[in-house]
C-alpha cells in the first residue's frame, strides 16, 4: 500500500449506486453490510484517485535560449533582461542535491516559481515513520536543437519556500541532462519527498472562510512552491543552437 487510502473492492473502481434521492436509503431500516462495503470502497477509491493537477505553464519568455557558454552573448539579445550567473554543471560526481541545486542561479527568465499550492501528505514512505507528500511529476515539453549540437538541462524543485532552491533547501529536487534525441520531446521529472514532514516546521496558515460564524477562519496546511528551470548549452563556441521549453505540466502521483 502506497497511500493512506483504505482498501477497495476488486476490481478497483467506483461502484455505481442509487443517488441520495432514492428511497432505497430511506426505508427505515439499518444499512446492510453489503451497501456499507460499497460505501467504504467508493470513498477509498475517490481518495486513491484524488491526486490533482498543480500547474500548466509555458515559457513564453524569453523564447529560445542560445549560446549559453558565452553568457554575455547569450543574454544580449534579451532586451532588458539582467545577465544571470553562468551555470557550473557537475555532470559527474555524487547525486547530491545540495550541490546540484547550485549549478544554476534560478533567475528569471529561465526559472519559474509556481504556487502557492496546498499539498497533501498521504503517501506512505518506507524509510521513515509516517506519511509524506504526494510525488509531483513535472512533465516538460521541450525542443532540442541538434544542428548545431547542444544540450538542454532541465531542473525542478519542490519547496516549502518561494526562495530559490539554492537559497532555501527544497524538499525535493530533480534534474535531467538532455544530450540525445532531437526535435520536440517530453520528459517527466519526478519530485519525491522521501521523509515524513514535520507538522510544525512545514506547516502554513491560510485564510479559509470570509467570517467566523460557527467555524474557524484560518486553516493549517502544508503549502508548497514549485520551481522549474532550464538551461541551454551549445557545444561549440561558434554555434548558435536554439532550444526551447514549450510547456510544463505538474501533477500529483503516489
Amino acid at each position: 500500500m502506497t497511500s493512506l487510502a483504505g482498501p477497495r473492492l476488486t476490481p478497483g473502481r467506483y461502484i455505481r449506486h442509487p443517488d441520495d434521492s432514492s428511497t432505497y436509503w430511506q426505508d427505515g431500516h439499518t444499512l446492510d453490510a453489503g451497501s456499507g462495503q460499497v460505501f467504504d470502497s467508493n470513498i477509498n477509491w475517490l481518495v486513491e484517485q484524488s491526486c490533482r493537477h498543480l500547474a500548466m505553464d509555458t515559457f513564453a519568455e524569453p523564447g529560445p535560449m542560445v549560446n549559453l557558454n558565452s553568457v554575455a552573448e547569450t543574454w544580449a539579445n534579451l532586451s532588458g533582461w539582467d545577465v544571470p550567473e553562468a551555470p557550473v554543471f557537475s555532470a559527474s560526481g555524487p547525486d547530491d542535491r545540495t550541490i546540484r541545486v547550485g549549478e544554476i542561479s534560478w533567475e528569471r527568465p529561465f526559472a519559474h516559481c509556481c504556487g502557492p499550492f496546498v499539498l497533501i501528505a498521504d503517501r506512505i514512505v518506507t524509510d521513515n515513520v509516517g506519511a509524506s507528500l504526494r510525488d509531483v511529476v513535472v512533465e516538460i515539453d521541450y525542443v532540442r536543437d541538434t544542428a548545431p549540437a547542444s544540450e538542454l538541462w532541465l531542473y525542478a524543485a519542490l519547496s516549502g519556500s518561494d526562495s530559490p532552491p539554492d537559497v532555501v533547501a527544497p524538499w525535493a529536487f530533480a534534474r535531467k541532462r538532455v544530450s540525445s534525441g532531437t526535435g520536440q520531446q517530453q520528459y517527466p521529472l519526478t519530485l519525491s519527498v522521501n521523509h515524513a514532514l514535520d507538522a510544525y516546521a512545514d506547516g502554513a496558515t491560510l485564510v479559509s472562510r470570509p467570517a467566523a460564524g460557527n467555524a474557524q477562519v484560518m486553516v493549517q496546511c502544508v503549502v508548497g512552491y514549485l520551481w522549474v528551470a532550464f538551461v541551454s548549452v551549445k557545444l561549440n563556441p561558434t554555434d548558435t543552437p536554439e532550444n526551447y521549453v514549450y510547456a510544463i505540466n505538474a501533477y500529483e502521483v503516489r
Binding site: 467506483y14 439499518t30 475517490l46 493537477h53 513564453a60 509556481c114 496546498v118 479559509s208
Partner: protein
C-alpha cells in the same frame, strides 16, 4: 457540532464488521466515512491556475480572464500575482500600475486586506536583479458563487507609469478547517460527526438532514462529481500578446514561444486523468476557451488527445465570429486506460484574411 476536516485520509483501522447480511456497525466504518469525506471535500481542494505571463504590455490596459468552477466546500481563493520587473528607473519614472480583480464582472470581495488588488492603490513594480518572487497576495471571497457554475475571475491591469504588465498569476482554492453540516446542512459539506460514533444508531434520515444514509450518499456524490480538477493556461486578452493563427487549415498556433514571439509552435500538455470507473470509461472534461476574431470570420479549435493506448482523437469546436473576447466550451473526454494523456490545441480561421485569437484554455472536470 462542527466537524474537523482532516488534512489527510483517516489513519483509522479498516472496518472489520462489514459482514454481508448483517446490519452495519456504527463503529469505525462510520468514523472513516465521515473523516475521509470531509478530507475529500474540505481539504483536497484544487489549484485553479499557475502560470507565467508574457512581458510587453508597457502601457494602456488589458485583462486576464481565469475560468473557475467552485468546489462544494470552498469559501475562499488565494490569489497571488507578480508584476513584471523593470531594468531601469530614472528620475520621474516610478513604474506603477493598477490591478483590479473582478469576479463575474463585479469587483471582488476580499477577505482581509486587498493589498491593492482592488484597484485603489498604485502598485510599485519591482526592479530587476532579484530572484525570490515578490508576489502580491490576497484572498477572494467566493462563498456566494454557486457550486458547479462556471465563473470568471478577471484581472484588470492598467498602466499608470512605465510598468511592464502582470508577470505571473496563481489562483488556488483554500481548504477549510472545520465543516458545520449541523448548523447549515445545505451550504456545508460533510456529515454530522456525532452520527457514526459507536453507540449511536446509524439511522437513515432525510435528504436535508446533516446525517443519515441519504446525506452520506449525497456527500459521496459531491466528492465524485463536484470536486473538479482545473488544468488551465491563460494569457493577456490583447491581440498583440495572445495566441493566434491566420491559417485556414487546422494546425499549430503562434503560442509566442518562438524568437520574438513569431512562428508557430505545437506545445504538448499532459493531463493525468482521474479514473473513476473502468479503463473503458473516460474522465469527462469540459474545456473552456476565451477567444475573439479580427472581423466577421468564424474560427475553429481542435483538441487532440493521445495517450498511446486509446486511438488518438480530435474534438473540434466551432467558433462564431466575435470582435470582443468571449468564452465558449466543448466537452472533451480524457481516456483512462493509460496513466497520462497528452493534449495539443490547434486552430484555424475559416476565411482567408481572418485571424483567430486565443487568450485562455481551461480543462475542468465535468463528471455527471
Amino acid at each position: 457540532m462542527p466537524s474537523p476536516v482532516p488534512t489527510s485520509p483517516a489513519p483509522l483501522p479498516r472496518p472489520s464488521r462489514l459482514q454481508v447480511g448483517s446490519p452495519i456497525s456504527a463503529g469505525n466504518a462510520g468514523q472513516r466515512w465521515s473523516s475521509d469525506l470531509a478530507f475529500l471535500l474540505g481539504h483536497c481542494v484544487q489549484p485553479i491556475v499557475a502560470c507565467a505571463l508574457p512581458p510587453g504590455a508597457k502601457s494602456g490596459s488589458h485583462e486576464i480572464a481565469i475560468t473557475y468552477v467552485r468546489g462544494p466546500a470552498v469559501q475562499v481563493l488565494v490569489l497571488s500575482l507578480e508584476l513584471h520587473p523593470r531594468a531601469t528607473f530614472s528620475t520621474g519614472v516610478y513604474g506603477t500600475c493598477n490591478v483590479n480583480v473582478q469576479v463575474n464582472g463585479v469587483n471582488a470581495s476580499f477577505v482581509g486586506r486587498a493589498n491593492g488588488l482592488d484597484g485603489s492603490e498604485a502598485l510599485q513594480i519591482p526592479r530587476f536583479g532579484y530572484r525570490r518572487p515578490r508576489p502580491i497576495r490576497a484572498y477572494l471571497d467566493v462563498s456566494g458563487l454557486t457550486v458547479g457554475n462556471t465563473s470568471t475571475v478577471t484581472l484588470q491591469f492598467t498602466d499608470v507609469d512605465s510598468s511592464e504588465g502582470i508577470g505571473s498569476v496563481s489562483l488556488s482554492e483554500c481548504p477549510i478547517a472545520v465543516a458545520s453540516p449541523v448548523t447549515d446542512p445545505t451550504g456545508e459539506v460533510g456529515i454530522d460527526g456525532d452520527w457514526p460514533v459507536g453507540g449511536n444508531p446509524l439511522w437513515d434520515g432525510g435528504a436535508s438532514d446533516p446525517s443519515g444514509f441519504p446525506r452520506l450518499v449525497s456527500q459521496l456524490g459531491k466528492a465524485r462529481n463536484k470536486v473538479r480538477r482545473h488544468v488551465q493556461l491563460v494569457t493577456l486578452q490583447d491581440t498583440s500578446y495572445c495566441w493566434s493563427t491566420t491559417a485556414t487549415s487546422s494546425g499549430a498556433l503562434n503560442w509566442r514561444l518562438g524568437s520574438g514571439g513569431s512562428g508557430t509552435q505545437d506545445p504538448v500538455f499532459t493531463i493525468r486523468p482521474r479514473r473513476l470507473y473502468t479503463v473503458n470509461d473516460a474522465n469527462n472534461y469540459k474545456v473552456h476557451y476565451w477567444y475573439r476574431t479580427n472581423a466577421a470570420h468564424d474560427g475553429e479549435l481542435t483538441f487532440h488527445t493521445d495517450n498511446g493506448s486509446t486511438p488518438a482523437a480530435d474534438t473540434t469546436a466551432s467558433l462564431g465570429a466575435s470582435t470582443s473576447w468571449v468564452r465558449d466550451s466543448v466537452s472533451v473526454d480524457i481516456p483512462t486506460d493509460a496513466d497520462t494523456c497528452t493534449v495539443r490545441v490547434r486552430g484555424r480561421t475559416l476565411t482567408a484574411g481572418g485571424v483567430l485569437y486565443l487568450a485562455g484554455i481551461c480543462f475542468v472536470e465535468d463528471e455527471v
